[in-house]
């Protein structure tokens, strides 16, 4: 019937920041785009996020951070994925970041960074173009 695989993504809030409005809106936009979105809730450690991503066999992890600890948390997720042999899972991030951090995050393996004001359509289109449902 439908031979196309459905994209599965994980939306996660790493660290101690308690603001998940943005993450929920992104999750909703992904759902409306036809993705299966696993939402893990607040206060997740990078270890928990990676374990959930593997158990859920997602194609992408979307990390949301508004509290400033992204320079540790985001690269740590990428690192753990590598350790677990799951580096094929794409990682992207959204939230508030100092401009100079963005190239550093990308260098650490975060494939794209979205900042406030990005239209939802753009976020969804990026995923559709850059993330492939597994082979």
């Amino acid at each position: 019937m439908n031979k196309k695989r459905r994209l599965r993504v994980l939306v996660a809030k790493p660290g101690l920041d308690g603001h998940d409005r943005g993450a929920r809106i992104i999750a909703r936009a992904y759902r409306d785009a036809g993705f299966e979105v696993v939402y893990t809730g607040l206060h997740q450690t990078p270890e928990e996020i990676v374990q959930a991503a593997i158990q859920e066999d997602v194609d992408m992890i979307g990390l949301s951070s508004l509290a400033g600890a992204h320079m540790y948390l985001f690269p740590r997720v990428v690192e753990l994925l590598k350790e677990r042999g799951a580096h094929d899972i794409v990682v992207c991030g959204g939230g508030i970041f100092p401009e100079e951090d963005i190239p550093k995050l990308k260098k650490a393996g975060i494939k794209e960074i979205f900042t406030p004001g990005t239209p939802l359509t753009e976020v969804v289109a990026w995923v559709e173009q850059n993330v492939e449902a597994r082979r």
Binding site: M1, N2, R5, R6, R8, A27, R28, Y30, R31, D32, A33, G34, F35, E36, V37, V38, Y39, T40, G41, Q44, T45, E47, E48, Q51, A52, I54, Q55, E56, D57, R84, G85, A86, R134
Partner: protein, 319 residues
């Protein structure tokens, strides 16, 4: 190592990927399931069902804690609905269980109900087999709200919990048909709320009126619980064990339970496969579109269109 061997050895990634392949209906997944089947049948499967918002995920979270304390490994399948409009889904049951994610003895998987053409039942059933073959001692299957499909799923459980909350008197009436056949334990959650006695009494009356239909001679107990505060959860585990012992203690009951489970599994599998194969063929060959256009143009009626489709594929289709 083959995929099946990896899964039997407990490889999380291999199991996770197989469940995805099952969901996406890849034919290769079926081959792996055949290899896994000899390793299934050891896990104890508990179905948890009830209306949305009654606290199923929270209850599952607490059950995991108790089962882990008792030294059992746990697999969880949590099903959430697919949007009929976009085909997407938000799978949020994990939020309540995430504290167990670092526990190697726990495997949690969220599943979406997927399309209108079935598949929920079958892919969840197959996912149960995967977790079973992985060696999980206990598998908790949390369904979406109560409905026909969910009742199908709980038929493949060894013990089924029906979760309710106080103040659902009329809903109990609505659920009455069929509910006794599937419920082995009735859980009244959020028992600190008003109306808990009334709900328990309604349930008790209903259960006692239906004595003849007790599944395998088991009278379903009613438990009042406050899952979020872990009150009454240990008692649920005790009752599940009692139920298991009740079925196990008689060879007649044991073989009846097994017969029902296997029979149901096979018949659902056949049904699902027929629907899938016929519909794929219809859609891919363009025959569905052609028939639809004929009906839209009022050239033929839908009954004739259906007869034509069926008689082409099944020998006795026009009977």
């Amino acid at each position: 190592m083959s995929i099946a061997e990896k899964i039997v050895a407990g490889d999380i990634r291999a199991a996770a990927r197989l469940i995805r392949d099952i969901d996406d209906m890849l034919p290769e997944a079926r081959e792996t399931l055949k290899d896994l089947y000899p390793f299934t049948g050891k896990a104890y499967v508990v179905g948890i069902t009830g209306a949305p918002g009654v606290g199923k995920s929270t209850l599952v979270d607490q059950l995991i804690t108790h089962l882990r304390k008792a030294g059992k490994t746990v697999g969880v399948l949590a099903v959430d609905p697919t949007s009929p409009f976009s085909g997407g889904a938000i799978l949020g049951d994990r939020v309540r269980m995430q504290r167990h994610s670092m526990d190697e003895g726990v495997f949690i998987r969220s599943m979406a109900t997927r399309g209108a053409f079935g598949g929920l039942t079958q892919s969840t059933r197959s996912a149960i087999d995967v977790l079973d073959a992985m060696g999980k001692d206990c598998i908790l299957v949390e369904t979406v709200g109560v409905g026909q499909d969910e009742i199908d799923i709980v038929q493949s459980a060894d013990t089924t919990l029906i979760v309710l909350v106080p103040g659902m008197g009329d809903d109990i009436q609505a659920l009455k048909a069929g509910i006794l056949e599937v419920g082995d334990l009735f859980i009244v959650n959020k028992a600190d709320r008003e109306g808990v006695d009334r709900t328990v009494n309604d349930l008790r009356l209903m259960i006692e009126m239906d004595e003849k239909r007790y599944k395998n001679g088991w009278k379903p107990p009613i438990l009042t619980v406050q899952a979020v505060f872990d009150k009454g959860v240990k008692e649920i585990i005790d009752e599940i064990e009692k139920h298991a012992a009740h079925v196990r203690s008689s060879s007649e009951r044991r073989s009846k339970a097994r017969y029902e489970k296997v029979r149901n599994g096979l018949s659902e599998m056949i049904k699902d496969r027929i629907i899938h194969e016929v519909l794929s063929d219809l859609v891919e060959s363009g025959e569905f579109e052609t028939s639809l256009q004929l009906v839209l143009d009022k050239k033929i009626d839908p009954y004739t269109a259906c007869d034509n489709i069926i008689s082409k594929r099944f020998r006795h289709g026009n009977k």
